[in-house]
Amino acid sequence: MTDPAPANPSRRAPASQQAQVLPAPANAAAIGGSVSLTINGTALKVPLGTTILEAARTAGIQIPTLCHHPDLCIAGVCRICCVEVEGQRTLQAACAYPVTAPIKVSTHTRKVRQARRHVLDLLLSEHFGECYACGRNLNCELQSLARDYGVDGFRFGHPERPRFPIDRSSYSVVRDRDKCILCRRCVRTCIDLQEVGTLEVLGRSDRSRIGTFLEKPLGGVVCINCGQCINRCPTGALRANDPTDEVWAAIQDPAKHVVIQTAPSPRAAIGECFGLPPGRALTLELNTALRLCGFDKVFDTNFAADLTIMEETTELLLRLREALAGRAAALPQFSSCSPGWVKYLEHFHPDYLPHLSTAKSPQQMFGAVIKTWYAHQHGLAPRDIVTVALMPCSAKKFECNRPEMDASGFKDVDYGLTTRELAKMISETGLDLVHLPKSDFDAPFGTATGSGVIFGATGGVMEAALRTLLELVTGEPVEDLYRHADITPVRGFEGIKHLELTLPRVGPVPALLAPLFTDWDWLKGATLKLAVAHGTANARRVMEDIQRGGPFSRCHFIEFMGCPGGCLGGGGQPIPTSPAIRQARADAIYQEDSSYPIRKSHENPDVQKLYREFLTEGPCGPLSHRLLHTRYTARGRYIE
């Protein structure tokens, strides 16, 4: 099965925002595919077409950049990477200039240094830098460049007050035009990387500005809240909607019982906010920190992830039964735990909403269970419980505010807190997170499995679902089919992955599913067709293939994640992001998975207890449907 055909390139971002396609020079064969150059007198040999910037990096030579980003196509607009190429009158943008012939490059001549300073002076003449009061203080690329390149005065002035209102209309993303330096990374992210197209450059010349359709507030246009734009913004022009003041207020209110659930991706990345290299999970140190901050209980979202697997896998089996019996069924089933992906489908393909699993995301399931069962068990009034979710995600701020997310009778999840926001809260306390003693999560939601952990990586939901589905259906350990239960074909950052799995045998129906199934005979010899896509550009490919009746329309289950890399690359994660950083976070997540004693969702004793004592009709039973399942809203692309 081949990947779906790429979209017509001329319908995508303009050439100025697309990756450059460099023609092979006529003498490519003669010069053997590589080319020599010198940078500051150092001789290098690089593959043909390498940019000056990439070549410099191989030699450890620093060239400043601002509009350049490893995830995005080349822009060449900020001009701070300009260097001198012998024989050329004008300076050349190192990020955009491909080396196809031997050249001599100088990176710090008088002209280059002057140009760099001028670029910074000009940007600073427009950028309203209130650094002390800005969320990107000390993590701002403009600040770093000003420091590194010797800015010692505002040659062309500096704004003393803001000129534009801040757009706080979105639950997730806040836009502050005064800080924008028009690097266009957000536009390239939204048009080219995510293929959503919420942000574009409007106007021209010094009236250029990043804006939305008809300059409407962000909360009212087609925006999926994925926050990928926030992650790539070099300054504080884009940030997440920050509820830390409200969370502190709840913590300090003695009448409130404040619980926090933590997700695997923030735990794998929060160290980056404290100077650690990416890939060191601080899960257990974080528990200690959270209690010291004043949270009454610290729960593991992975518990709810396991719950999600139970509900969603059962739902898939129910749909499969219909389909394999020749009756209509909404297949392929789409995963539903990524709120960015869910909103994407609601806007762009509302007629496919029935394909979404009705299971809520782990965050939302958890909120419903906490304000019903947990409250009852512990003699707490649900109105006195405040549920906070630590998520790598900016879209979860929108998700928890959906009107239908009130199954408990109250707002199931009160606040979505990002990794960065929690890092700020911890830093306000002065706690040395990295060196805190480790401690466990609180009962009754303290046990998690490896399956829950891997939700953070693309392919994780699929792998978790398969570990459970294969064991519940075959009755045999999944380790018989995949060593260590590591279903590696669905792992990794390839944009779209697919897997076909023929069930080797069927076993008895487990007691938990007895209310719904009498046997698995109808699954004998069935071949499951599965796919995994991450980032909405890949989601779009898959959806277009499904609409055309292509191979993906014959899949049974597709995991979609709104963010490139999966949740570990979410809009709430530490800044900066890059392919290498996301790889390190993924490694940490899969390592945590292998270290767990229990690795399958259905073996989670806390989950089993919940079904025994509370959700007694089992997964997808009436109570489960009321609390743990949801409905969607066809939004379409038209806005008011």
Binding site: C82, Y97, S125, S205, D206
Partner: protein, 399 residues
């Protein structure tokens, strides 16, 4: 308006017929021998551009005529399009054969929408006469072209911004390399030539490279159209040899006594009277044709302000030096007008202008400081003696 002698005397389709009798290499050789350089202002050797596109390996290539004549003071292409459209289409067809393109586009600036009807009629006639279509004059050459309307942006005269506009996007210049001859419209090899360049190409194929070389200078061969306006007795379009001096041109147009001549439009250079001995040629003062004559009564600072306002209006806004630098230069002009610009800050702005000339992403930002630098240098006395703010007061104001 003067008629254009050479174009008026040119026998229609004589160039095309000569080209059809040659092979691609033959046409390229004639253009190379003629030394023809782009007549839009940049002066890029036409044969080099055509050769690069000809040798590009691609199934689909495009021949684009840049009729986005937007440089202030340039109106010669308008006259060519009105009076000699056939010559332009002839040139496009010859170019198409030389490079191997079957499709052509004429990018017509939005302000020339009133010319479109006439041009479409001319195209229809050519198709009827077998001068455009699948088998031109029975030669086997297939080429046709369509007209694409611009919408009033000067930046779309820059060839990569023009191509972006053709593709339906914002008219913003691309990163170069790669160049359009490699990767142009829809990623295909594309040659973008000025209207006048194509008209001369048609003449050259008929009359020969030696004829073309018999005028002009060695580096700037041939004749050129100049559109002259301003403080002169006989403004209009003139056909003159390249290498003519400013003084000779002023005599021709009745502009003796001028204080300054702006050559090359707002993006060009301002020649003061003491430089009227210089020549209009690519090796000296280049121009796409725009010549604006300023009489002694003109305020050069006002002229400069007008030019900078133009560039600020027309900048695409992509790159930092142009988007933010031009307003700073204009602000400097306002300070000079008010007598509030110190020498120190003026030097800062001169340095900024130099940076813009080398660091801007395209020719607009690279040339917008030209007027600032040349007027500030050549008319220092006129500019600095403004509103006579006493030196003491200037020092107190800190500037």
């Amino acid at each position: 308006m003067s008629a254009i002698p050479t174009f008026s005397a040119q026998v229609p389709e004589a160039g095309l017929r000569a080209a059809l009798a040659l092979d691609r290499a033959g046409i390229l050789a004639v253009i190379a021998a003629s030394g023809l350089r782009g007549r839009g202002g940049a002066g890029f050797p036409t044969s080099v551009k055509w050769n690069l596109a000809a040798s590009a390996q691609a199934g689909r290539k495009f021949m684009v005529c840049n009729a986005d004549e937007g440089e202030p003071g340039t109106f010669k292409d308008r006259v060519i399009l009105m009076d000699h459209p056939g010559l332009v289409f002839e040139g496009m067809t010859i170019a198409a054969k030389a490079i191997g393109a079957r499709e052509g586009i004429l990018f017509l600036r939005g302000e020339y929408a009133y010319l479109r009807g006439g041009l479409e009629q001319a195209l229809a006639r050519r198709r009827d006469q077998g001068l455009l279509g699948p088998d031109i004059l029975g030669s086997g050459l297939g080429f046709d072209l369509r007209i694409f309307m611009g919408a009033g942006a000067y930046i779309c005269g820059e060839e990569t911004a023009l191509i972006e506009c053709l593709e339906g996007f914002r008219g913003e210049p691309r990163n170069r390399p790669p160049f359009p001859v490699d990767t142009g419209f829809l990623g295909c090899p594309t040659v973008v030539n000025n209207v006048e360049t194509l008209a001369w190409a048609a003449c050259i194929l008929d009359r020969g490279a030696a004829w073309f070389r018999s005028s002009g200078t060695v580096p700037s061969s041939g004749r050129k159209l100049f559109s002259v306006s301003g403080d002169c007795a006989r403004p209009g379009v003139y056909e003159l040899p390249l290498g003519i001096t400013v003084a000779e041109l002023l005599r021709e147009v009745g502009g003796e006594g001028a204080k300054a001549v702006q050559i090359g439009g707002a993006a060009g250079q301002c020649a003061p009277a003491r430089e009227f001995g210089r020549t209009l040629a690519f090796e000296d003062i280049p121009t796409g044709g725009s010549v604006i004559v300023f009489g002694p009564q003109r305020d050069m600072l006002e002229v400069l302000r007008n030019f900078l306002e133009f560039f600020i209006d027309e900048s695409c806004g992509q790159c930092t030096p142009c988007r933010l630098g031009n307003p700073k230069l204009l602000e400097g002009v306002e300070r000079l007008r008010a007598g509030r610009c110190s020498m120190a800050y003026l030097n800062e702005l001169r340095a900024l202008g130099e940076t813009m000339q080398v660091a801007s992403k395209c020719g607009l930002g690279q040339s917008s400081p030209n007027a600032f630098l040349s007027i500030v240098d050549h008319f220092r006395d006129e500019i600095m003696g403004r509103n006579a703010v006493p030196a003491r007061a200037q020092a107190k104001a800190g500037r």
